[in-house]
Symmetry: C2
């Protein structure tokens, strides 16, 4: 017959079919009081028959809320964010919220667009995992009036909510573990500290662990690498040539650690016999690795759950500009098989 695309039924259609007013139908379907029981049942029956389901657009427009949050993060294919996203999406769904995903690829410009999109779509709140160098965007977000929580990274200069890992503690734990196992020349393969609070804090922890052990911090043992740029192997092998006395590597993240291990493997350097490695993030909580990596559990699930909880509180609360939560999740060292005791 070619009767074309079937339009979804509206309250009006049900009203016509049942002979009640639109308002009565609406109230019946929402189980509101002041409706005769048999009326309600009849209307609900017809709605079911017609395959009615509420039009969230119209509803949101009227109610002024969308039951939707946006998650703006730098890289979903990074297991850290992927796993966080799972938690956030699940928790949001359980509370009746949908999740709009906006990936920024660590780009400030993309991030700005992402924020604009989120605002246009009238999301009720935003989980904001800042890209590097996005202070301006964070400020813009503050001015928007839409509740948001900084996730994973944060800006000290902005007084806003955040849920981040205790990167300094984690950096300390990783480094102290290596020192305890007898390592003295520990290469830090860090992220880009200039624009990344996590990288700065992990480095601070690295320094603090040295100081606590009475060891000097050797500036040339701190290097910055970028997974996206793919320069991990180059920097690592270069350093090992320059400083053959290096016995251990503290990697900014498990991804960096894995990349480092792959390059060491290729060059015939054994882990942990020749070089010990500690990573960061504990992605093994979501992927099995052939060799368990010694790493720092940053408690992704906990961090994600805390961020979501904070955001929902802000959404429910009367004043979205009030800071509700500035949380550092406590990290924990997870021993694996990539650190050699050389005492």
């Amino acid at each position: 017959m070619g009767n074309g695309p079937v339009q979804r039924p509206t309250l009006k259609d049900i009203a016509q079919k049942t002979g009640y007013s639109i308002n009565t139908v609406s109230r019946a379907l929402r189980n509101m009081p002041d409706i005769a029981v048999e009326t309600r049942e009849r209307i609900r029956e017809v709605a079911r028959e017609m395959g009615y389901h509420n039009n969230a657009l119209a509803s949101s427009l009227r109610l002024g809320r969308t039951n939707t949050i946006a998650v703006i993060i730098p890289d979903i294919s990074n297991l850290f964010y992927a796993f966080a996203l799972v938690e956030i999406e699940r928790g949001a769904r359980e509370q009746g919220y949908s999740t709009i995903l906006l990936n920024t690829s660590e780009s400030g410009a993309f991030e700005q667009n992402a924020i604009k999109t989120a605002l246009q779509k009238n999301v009720d709140g935003i989980i904001f995992g800042p890209a590097q160098q996005s202070l301006d965007n964070t400020r813009m977000l503050m001015g928007s009036g839409t509740p948001f929580v900084q996730f994973a990274r944060h800006f000290e200069s902005v007084n806003a909510d955040f849920c981040v890992g205790d990167d300094k503690l984690g950096g300390y734990q990783a480094t102290a573990h290596l020192i305890e196992k007898g390592h003295r020349n520990i290469l830090l393969l860090n992220g880009l500290a200039a624009h990344n609070s996590s990288a700065r804090d992990r480095q601070a922890g690295y320094r603090a662990a040295h100081e606590a052990a009475g060891l000097p911090v050797q500036p040339d043992l701190v290097r910055e690498v970028s997974i996206l740029a793919g320069d991990v192997g180059q920097q690592l092998m270069g350093m090992l040539r320059q400083r053959p006395d290096i016995t251990a590597v503290f990697a900014y993240s498990d991804l960096v650690a894995l990349s480092a291990m792959a390059h060491l493997q290729q060059n015939g350097v054994r882990v942990p016999q020749d070089i010990s490695i500690v990573g960061f993030d504990y992605i093994q909580s979501c992927i099995n690795l052939p060799v368990p990596l010694t790493t720092v559990d940053i408690k992704i699930r906990e961090m994600a759950a805390a961020a979501l909880k904070c955001l929902l509180e802000k959404i429910a609360g009367p004043d979205s500009s009030k800071v509700v939560c500035q949380k550092f999740t406590r990290t924990e060292l997870v021993p694996g098989a990539t650190v050699q005791d050389i005492n």
Copy 2:
């Protein structure tokens, strides 16, 4: 002053401020014709000053489209889907679409809710990565009138669009590679074939490769495991005890392969010296592994891009029930370091 949450300005506000009608303001901001140049500029100027941005809810309600797609998939923390999601989100964004993410955790019930949510939110289309055992949901989706494309898995009994990997080819390539390297007793650690087209097809490829080589298929060498249930190690080590003549494993996915390798490692079995392993998916395209895994590249990016392209075509097209694309992306064997030549 406590002047409360600042309301976002609307067309009405701009109209009042400039003295023009709402319609004129709307047309000015959308760069429509039939407006005096100076009027347009003046209005746009004021809009900028007031920080106006379009209310997508109202716009969508009026226009009947949301510029939003939903991605309904079983598990975002599975790198396969995570990487696909990156591609889909990026492509969608480039075409002006936002992405709502709905994770189903392989649950048919969650999936049903996800579909309902997507329909309520009036998404323009759905990338649908079916959970296992979700044939009914797929049928429901067909009846909804909303364009969708099955992704990664599909149902033969439903005549609808899909973009999936050529699982049979991939299964063949993996198995043939092992046979070529001299392996005769190849354990297939498959997914749950009863509810998963990929698992069935990969197994068909496994069988075909045996037949092509004139080898018998040994039914006891085909086992089904579940990453979520965590029974990979148990099944694998059990089989190796029963059949010490097994020299190779073809794993359903890289995740299964990694899990298998971890258990082999723990039990002192060396890869590839004692046991060869081939995986599936090529997650190394997004994560470095210390030892390169021999695997089958299922072309995630290509598959994701194809699915999105197909969906956008359906959205743009006049008849969303018309099947536009039923595509199998061609797989490719990627040699790594986990297969031993025992010829």
